[in-house]
């Protein structure tokens, strides 16, 4: 079997004229599975977006666009109707029908051993009704406005092909059959995937007849592979290489402000001493100063976000005071990034009863986000300048995230990649931790604000987009004015390519071959 595959790959590579319609690209994060329902992970989703389709696809700005559903609407307060595209075929020639959608919803929560399943996106669906071969109705528990948004995460499979397909069958290519613009030719787990164009694709056909999709995790090696011409396109360009690549005549860049916000989370729930806050003599402070909004505001005011984005991030970020960049649904219009104001910060600290400040340890990962370790060092200096003497401790993500999840820290840096819908960050990061509602699961600082919770609940019942957006804007403003978290900046997603290519950058960080074209 392996011999035939290798021989096929060899023959295929030789049969094609070099350059013309072949593309070689490299990504920085390994794709762990070709099963689109196995592991909810951005690199996997990017590849799934090449092979499979969703009912609702997303454009470069993460706005919803028709995918396998041509349109969708609410037919009664608790029921959505999706009208499906006709004439769509899977790679193996099977027809796409409503049966396949119903089958997909059954499979999603039942993928064995999934370390992070997609079940949450289909859980709101109470009942699936197939109206005709290309119309499907989904009933939810009461009005549920986010169903189309949820559908942008669920990749549609074929009932006939995938009835008994296991994750291994996808990885072994035989079950990697979708309706998407590319089909999988070979797959070497964690190393590379070869694609060929699906000439029967229903949408705009990609330019590339053949694509080699490699995974080069080491940042310097990925840049070197681009400069050496081994690959023509890379993602996750390290900020340290930006200046060099921008100055290189052989290379072009593409960039867009992303949806990932980097922020500081603070210890909210402890009324007594916080584990890493002590007074200037090193004794624990009896009441947690971080519960005082003036202290939180002072810590935010002390940070010079422009300095961080310009010097530490080399310009690859935008200072922010909220989750979204302008232009995204539920962006809060009158909430500009906090300007650095050390004087004001000192004044607020004095008002809160800390004229001489206190001592704190700021934690963060050192291998997760671009320049994460250096950002917390910079903030440590800025806080120390206003009297909050800061020790900085950066750790590997594996250790850090477990400890952060157990509320072991007083203040720490972390990031969040949002769906373009205010309820997403609000529900996960800001809402009161509540297992029965499924809220606040990534609210590691355990912020809690009943007013914000109530607004969020109202928004999640409001089907009409305009009205919901207004509620979400109010809720975000309330939480951020209360300094539930300290937002720092929104990352810029950057790709780099050989000069003969151009790329439609995507806010959701996905790296897909159909977004690349010859110049």
């Amino acid at each position: 079997m392996r011999l035939t595959l290798a021989a096929l790959a060899l023959a295929g590579a030789m049969a094609l004229p070099a350059g013309a319609q072949t593309l070689s690209m490299a990504v920085g994060a390994p794709v762990t599975s070709l099963d689109p329902h196995f592991h909810q992970l951005s690199p996997n989703n990017a590849v799934a977006g090449m092979v499979f389709d969703r009912l609702v696809n997303t454009d470069g700005q993460s706005r919803m666009v028709p995918g396998l559903a041509e349109s969708w609407s609410v037919v009664s307060p608790d029921t959505w109707e999706f009208r499906l595209r006709r004439g769509v075929k899977f790679h193996n020639g099977n027809d796409f029908t409503a049966e396949d959608v119903a089958f997909t919803f059954r499979r999603v929560p039942n993928v064995p051993n999934s370390p992070s399943s997609f079940a949450g996106f289909v859980r709101p669906i109470r009942e699936v009704t197939i109206v005709d071969s290309h119309t499907i109705r989904l009933r939810t528990d009461g009005p549920y406005p986010l169903l189309p948004q949820d559908m942008t995460n669920v990749y549609i499979l074929d009932r006939e092909t995938h009835e008994n397909a296991a994750t291994e069958d996808f990885n072994a290519v035989r079950a990697a059959v979708g309706t998407g613009p590319f089909r999988v030719v070979t797959h070497r787990l964690g190393d590379r995937i070869e694609f060929e164009r699906n000439d029967a694709y229903w949408g705009e056909k990609p330019h590339w007849a053949r694509v080699t999709y490699r995974m080069i995790v080491n940042d310097s090696a990925r840049t070197a592979a681009l400069l050496a011409g081994d690959v023509e396109f890379i993602d996750q360009v390290p900020t340290a290489d930006l200046a060099r690549l921008r100055g290189d005549a052989r290379v072009a860049m593409s960039e867009v402000t992303g949806l990932r916000v980097i922020y500081l989370s603070l210890d909210h729930p402890r009324e007594g001493a916080s584990p890493f806050v002590v007074d200037n003599d090193g004794r624990p402070i009896e009441r947690n100063p971080l519960r005082d909004v003036r202290v939180r505001r002072a810590l935010s005011m002390a940070i010079d976000r422009n300095a961080i984005t310009e010097r530490v991030m080399e310009g690859a970020a935008t200072p922010t005071a909220q989750f979204f960049p302008p232009g995204i649904f539920s962006y809060v219009p009158d909430l500009p990034a906090q300007r650095a104001d050390p004087e004001g910060a000192r004044r607020l600290l004095a008002e809160a009863g800390f004229p001489n400040g206190f001592r704190i340890t700021l934690h963060g990962p050192n291998d997760r986000y671009p320049n994460d370790g250096r950002i917390i060092q910079a903030i440590g200096q800025m806080w120390t300048r206003v009297g909050v003497r800061t020790a900085v401790e950066a750790q590997p993500w594996t250790t850090f995230v477990s400890r952060a999840g157990r509320q072991e820290f007083s203040a720490f840096l972390i990031g969040w990649g949002s769906n373009p819908e205010g309820s997403h960050p609000l529900r996960n990061l800001i809402a009161t931790f509540d297992a029965s509602r499924g809220w606040g699961n990534s609210n590691r600082g355990r912020y809690s604000n009943a007013e914000v919770d109530a607004m969020l609940a109202e928004a999640l019942r409001t089907i009409e987009d305009g009205a919901r957006e207004q509620i979400l804007i109010r809720a975000q403003r309330a939480a951020l004015q209360d300094v539930a978290i300290i937002p720092l900046h929104i990352q810029t997603n950057i790709w780099s390519m050989r000069r003969h290519l151009r790329h439609d950058a995507r806010a959701d960080e996905s790296t897909r071959a159909q977004d690349i074209r010859p110049r």
Binding site: A6, N113, P115, S116, T167, L189, G190, A221, S402, N441
Partner: protein, 320 residues
């Protein structure tokens, strides 16, 4: 002999058990795999489901017992990340690492032996001093830095060789195709650098020692040609320690080619273990270390037996 072998086998088993225990407890202490693998917007119910799905809901000692039970049947568990049997994942990646290690060994011998011989024969010449200084660099320069420099010079600047990755394969081996071979050169050199230095130093000191031996003096007194003295009398005798050390080094190269594999995006076992450690994929980490321990146990056992065969003075019975 049989008693000795049985005792050794029993000891090896103890080492394996201790190893797996240490890794189990170690990974547990580092962090929670679910926290790392799960999507940040998964809710509490989904989190609980994932913990159960990965078998992490049981107390650690029970998880270990389940692991031992399965291991006895040859099943080292499934990767949390890939959902493939851990053993199979590692074995799939083994040929890539093997050929890299072998390539490095070939380079070490082809480059190290002649240079060491020269340095030993002409110890006071400028060339010999340069070689010895160079071998110090080979020992002390960090592998990842040298790797990046090799890529910058030979791939980016000169464009002679591909920068990263493994080329075309035939029957799972890349050295059988021209394209695969060209991908193999840079990482092999990078991995070989330390060994080249080692071989140079071993050869040089061997040559210098042997040159003073009576049989060499006698051969020269007999009027044998310089080449015959060098290549027959000296060379043959220094080969034994060099071959022993290079052979033993092969084991550690296979086990610890991690850095080279990461820098060159070489899809071998080393890269797999690093990726697995980064996401706390415990079944793969445990399986990998078990395989490596097993490999070292076998190598050491073979070496011990070989010694007793080669040198009758070595008795295995008496050793513990």
């Amino acid at each position: 002999m049989t008693v000795y072998l049985l005792r050794r086998l029993f000891q090896s088993l103890l080492v394996l058990v201790a190893m797996s225990l240490i890794v189990f407890v170690g990974v547990y202490a580092v962090g929670d795999p679910v926290e790392i693998l799960i999507s940040p917007d998964a809710d509490q119910a989904e989190r609980a489901r994932a913990i159960v799905a990965l078998g992490l809901d049981k107390p650690l000692w029970q998880q270990y017992l389940v692991f031992v039970q399965n291991a006895l049947r040859g099943d080292l568990g499934r990767s949390f990340v890939y959902n493939e049997p851990a053993l199979q994942l590692i074995l799939q990646k083994m040929p890539a690492t093997m050929e890299l290690a072998l390539g490095a060994t070939v380079f070490a011998i082809l480059v190290g032996l002649p240079l060491g011989l020269y340095a030993g024969l002409h110890p006071d010449s400028g060339g010999a001093k340069a070689i010895m200084a160079g071998s110090i660099l080979g020992f002390s320069l960090p592998t990842f830095w040298v790797g990046l420099m090799l890529i910058m010079v030979f791939a980016v600047q000169l464009g002679w060789l591909p920068s990263t990755g493994r080329g075309d394969t035939l029957w799972g081996w890349s050295f059988l195709t021209p394209n695969g071979l060209s991908h193999l050169v840079l990482p092999s050199i990078n991995l070989a650098l330390f060994k080249i230095s080692l071989v140079i130093r071993l050869t040089r000191s061997g040559v210098r020692e042997t040159m003073l031996m009576d049989y060499v003096k006698f051969a020269r007194a007999k009027g044998l040609s310089r080449n015959r003295v060098t290549y027959v009398h000296v060379f043959k005798n220094i080969l034994i320690p060099v071959v022993t050390v290079v052979g033993l080094e092969l084991g550690s190269t296979i086990a610890f080619s991690v850095v080279t594999e990461s820098v060159f995006a070489w899809p071998g076992m080393g890269k797999l273990i690093i990726d697995s450690i980064n996401v706390l994929d415990r079944p793969v980490i445990v399986a990998y270390l078990m395989i490596i321990v097993l490999m070292f146990i076998v190598i050491n056992l073979v070496v011990d037996i070989m010694y007793s065969v080669l040198d009758p003075r070595v008795r295995l019975e008496g050793q513990g």
